[in-house]
């Protein structure tokens, strides 16, 4: 398939210096930021709305609509979310490292559209190299007069601060991110207000956009909405970064048009399953997304609506592929362990529920499971997300707790036999071979780890 590269084009064509200001400007960079200084807020918001750009952090909310919600009070702030921590996701890392000026130009345009004079990039603490690259690019942009007082010789001032996280997945949730940036514990805020656009950083109107979302903005302006929406044959416009990992022959980040099928993604783009094994299941949109299985979902189109109709989501674009030799109980345990570790602890259903799910899954995996344990897992899950519907019903301030339910649903709907096998065999049927030589080693528990 032909792939019209947008946000990864420069790094593909100029791999040795795509991160420098010289290369960025030599390939047309910062011309749209300059141009946007002459455009009104309404013009810019309408252009981005018309482009159909959906937020790429996981929620897939219209970026232009989000901008239009910004309350009139000033100062307003822009926070770019580079706290990429959803298991399976590594696309923003590539955009930050390989093309930081593209994001900075997107920040300048977004700031102008939203009358922002101080913007922040929040990068997860475990990404020091991307943070170094971004800081170096920010320093270059300041020196060139593209940031700071009177950008591009205009009377518009814009400060940009790079902020490093402390190792907490939950800070990817936008209100937790804002609390963290204020120097507080990274706990999500109680809603309402539903959008930081009303009350965000320092209780001022705030736009929070993902790195990939912002990186698309200069291209929307330079291509125009017709060309940008034309990149895709499906209802979702533009391109989409997908992080492919697990048992595929060619893992990596791929910028793809919306609307290809899962079969194309896994077998053509990803080169098929390692060692010619059978595909057993895949997670279509990061650790939070309900799993897909080949018997039902391989020929579905990769679009927001088609994925939602099938009971899952594209989320952060992370696709985790599992082959026939994968123990589904262990995979579920590992995913649930993540949510238990990352629960901020504010809401009881999440704090207690994720911990219980992890403990029950571990005892099944280790051979101490009971026949009723799957029902128990479903029951505990129902306590976190009542009715186990999709999208999940919330008993909590944020979606972290309900996300931990996705692997349980997969076990219940597709791999019930495998859970039963663990119980009747008194252990994991997949690890018989390596149990012998690693009898001393146990699976790492959740103590002492960090994100």
């Amino acid at each position: 398939m032909t792939t019209p590269l947008v946000v990864t084009r420069r790094m593909t064509e100029h791999p040795n210096d795509s991160h420098t200001l010289d290369r960025y400007q030599a390939t047309g960079g910062y011309s749209q930021a300059k141009r946007s200084l002459g455009m009104s807020r309404d013009e810019l918001v309408e252009e981005v709305k018309a482009s159909g750009l959906l937020g790429r952090g996981g929620a897939a909310f219209s970026a232009g609509l989000k901008w239009s919600f910004l309350a009139p009070a000033r100062p307003a702030y822009l926070v770019v979310n580079g706290d990429e921590s959803e298991p399976g996701t590594f696309k923003d890392r590539q955009l930050l490292e390989r093309d930081p000026h593209q994001m900075i130009e997107g920040i300048i345009i977004t700031a102008i559209a939203n009358e922002v004079h101080h913007a922040f990039v929040y990068i997860r603490g475990e990404y020091p190299k991307p943070a170094r690259r971004v800081q170096a690019a920010v320093d270059e942009a300041y020196a060139a007069g593209f940031l700071g007082e009177g950008i591009f010789g205009s009377d518009y001032d814009l400060e940009l601060t790079v902020h490093l996280g402390g190792g907490a997945y939950i800070c990817g949730e936008e209100t937790a991110l804002i609390n963290s940036l204020e120097g507080q514990r990274g706990e999500p805020r109680l809603k309402p207000p539903y959008f930081p656009a009303a009350k965000g950083l320092y209780m001022k109107p705030t736009i929070v956009n993902n790195v990939e979302t912002v990186s698309n903005i200069p291209h929307i302006l330079s291509m125009g909405t017709d060309e940008y929406t034309g990149l895709s044959d499906s209802a979702d416009t533009g391109t989409f970064m997908m992080s492919l990992s697990g048992h595929v022959n060619r893992p990596g980040n791929y910028e793809l048009p919306h609307g290809i099928t899962w079969r194309q993604l896994i077998y053509e783009v990803g080169g098929g399953i390692r060692d010619d094994k059978e595909l057993k299941a895949w997670i279509p949109g990061g650790a939070s997304a309900p799993w897909f299985v080949p018997s039902e979902h391989l020929d579905l189109e990769i679009t927001k609506d088609a994925t939602a109709a099938a009971g899952s989501m594209l989320g952060s674009g992370a696709v985790i592929v599992m082959d026939e030799d994968t123990c589904m109980v262990k995979a579920a345990e590992r995913l649930v362990r993540f949510f238990a570790h990352e629960s901020c602890g504010q809401c009881t259903p999440c704090r207690e529920g994720t911990t219980w799910l992890e403990m029950i899954l571990r005892r099944i995996e280790e051979g101490q499971g009971r026949a009723v344990d799957l029902d128990l897992l479903v029951d505990v899950s129902d306590g976190i997300s009542i009715g186990l519907s999709w999208p999940p019903k919330m008993t909590t301030i944020c979606p972290l707790g309900p996300s931990a339910v996705s692997p349980i649903l997969a076990l219940k709907d597709h791999f019930r036999d495998e859970v039963d096998d663990h119980v009747t065999h008194g252990g994991c049927p997949f690890s018989a071979a390596d149990k012998a030589d690693s009898a001393e080693s146990s699976d790492p528990d959740d103590s002492g780890g960090s994100t």
Binding site: S85, R132, H163, G183, G246, M322, K330, G448
Partner: protein, 205 residues
């Protein structure tokens, strides 16, 4: 009265000047405190409190929320092995066990000589190059159990002053999530992120 040397105080003032409100500087200042003491001490938290005008208890409340603020003595080298889903699928658990076995340090602990700490971590965004390991948050992708053992031996014999991601990737790494393309000469000097505004990046440019 600050206990920090004048140059570090200048650094603190520079960090605070980057934010509209002082309190926002808590997180970078906590890293600055770690870079002074090797881990986050009570004195370090008191110092941060006085810089931003909140109480030490408030600072501790923030610090205890995040996993990268190490409040216990941490080795000069913090080895973090990812055992989240994508790394686990490709043998991340075996890599962790190799690190533990070769170093004699179980995850969550520090060697008796104070040189090496081992932890297992949740996803570090290197899933395309799984399994992944970080040393002082500098990344190595495509690590095997054998390479992990070599890494541990290298840390204890070569005792590198600066931990450089490209050097480690070359020596101990394999498949990467994407082409890293450009080599860095600098790196980390302790169990906290190497980032210019914190003054924690060292090595020649």
């Amino acid at each position: 009265m600050s206990v920090w040397p004048e140059s570090v105080q200048d650094r603190a003032r520079d960090i605070i000047s980057r934010y509209p409100e002082k309190r926002s500087a808590v997180m970078p200042l906590l890293y600055l405190a770690m870079s002074q003491d090797g881990h986050l001490t009570d004195d370090g938290m008191e110092e941060v409190a006085s810089w931003v005008g909140i109480t030490p208890a408030q600072v501790q409340s923030v610090a205890s929320f995040y996993s990268m603020y190490k409040r216990e003595k941490t080795g000069q080298y913090l080895v973090s092995a990812c055992t989240s889903i994508s790394c686990m699928l490709l043998g991340g658990d075996d890599v962790l066990h190799a690190v533990e076995d070769e170093s004699g340090v179980p995850h969550g602990e520090t060697s008796e000589d104070g040189q090496l700490s081992v932890e297992h971590v949740e996803c570090i965004g290197a899933c395309g190059g799984a399994p992944a390991v970080q040393v002082n948050y500098e990344l190595i992708e495509g690590v095997t159990p054998d390479k992990a053992r070599e890494l541990v031996r290298w840390l204890s014999t070569a005792r590198p002053e600066v931990i450089n991601t490209d050097e480690m990737q070359e020596l101990f790494g394999g498949r990467r999530s994407f082409d890293w393309a450009i080599r860095e000469e600098t790196g980390a000097v302790g169990p906290y992120p190497a980032f210019q505004p914190l003054g924690t990046v060292e090595g020649s440019e």
